[in-house]
Subunit: 233 residues, 2 copies
Amino acid sequence: MPQVKVVLVGPRVDGNVGAVARSMANFGFSELCLVDPCPLTDEAFKRAKHANYILRGAQVVDSLEEAIADCFHVVGTSGIVTTGEKHYIRIPLTPKEFAERLKGVEEKVAVVFGPEDTGLRQGDLARCDLLVSIPSHQDYPVLNLSHAVAVVLYELYQGSVHVPSPKKASERERDKLYEFFDDLLDAIGYPEFRRERTSIMFRRMMGRALPSRWEFHTIMGVFKDATKLIRGK
Amino acid sequence: MPQVKVVLVGPRVDGNVGAVARSMANFGFSELCLVDPCPLTDEAFKRAKHANYILRGAQVVDSLEEAIADCFHVVGTSGIVTTGEKHYIRIPLTPKEFAERLKGVEEKVAVVFGPEDTGLRQGDLARCDLLVSIPSHQDYPVLNLSHAVAVVLYELYQGSVHVPSPKKASERERDKLYEFFDDLLDAIGYPEFRRERTSIMFRRMMGRALPSRWEFHTIMGVFKDATKLIRGK
């Protein structure tokens, strides 16, 4: 079973928060984090039913950064999917593909859901390594928050057969790789106006690949040598 | 898309009925039948949101028999699963298996959900051709009614639609990228004895990332420029 922290950013309907807690218990998850939530009234506890303990134990923080500080992978969810290829930020996996991808991952994963009305903002999405979107009907694609959580956790629970995997790269190593990539862009004189987009695209792609530590180090070495050679001329 | 009629037997919480209607719309279903339901107050319509039309159009009947009269297959759902072989009535499919099974079925299918507290009674279950149960954690296996509906309809929707995804890179483009990567290794004087291993690793990693055509081209551009700059010195 992957270590999953469910992060709700700015939930506005406290009944939804309770329903999320219940869903978490239904699928064997217990770590809930609320970023700047609405007050939790009796309605939340009523909807949580036997999962009251998850609500009571929930971490409450002010920002997404605090919420994901102890997580290795950060996975955003979005109901709105653009099909244009260039919208790099929003190329999503289905919950099923996501569950597949998570098999064998041992580091803690934050699964982040946005507010009921607006979803995650662009800035929050940019912070995510991976994006998950639930396939839904075009006429009314936006699921209730707790239903979206239920579907994603259902897939994770279904897919939770343990498969051993090589050690994944640590956060520091990953940041290092991204630095090296940015450095390479710099060295090759990559156009300034495209740099951020390409940099985010690279993170997102690596996020989807969930590389092992060895893979990170190898690629890092290649980038470093290339950059050095270019600068050394 | 299979013809599905969602049948709620004796729902007691009208907010749930509204949430079920919304879920139905989210996954492209619209035929709802309520057997001896609680009164539907504003709460139900509030929770249904843009799926109000499903609530207004719902068939209301007194018995399960009436509800399924126009259906060819009758599928019951149950949160409680016994493993004893003799309880033949309760050997269930997962929602995923159910969706698989339904592919190509053209007749109308009733998917029947019981009251929130008790679930479907033995007599109702006996009337069903097939039983579906959502895999859930033993400590708290009982899902909220509307969540159970959402998970089952999610699988039916997934099983019946082509999920659009960004155009994947073609084989030729991918080979081109791998060539550029090998070329970069060459340009930086990467040790011969490690080259094949690193080259395979890169392919493997890209394979997992399933990059879009745009992502491939972007990375290819970076590698190409780097190689050119190194060689040009």
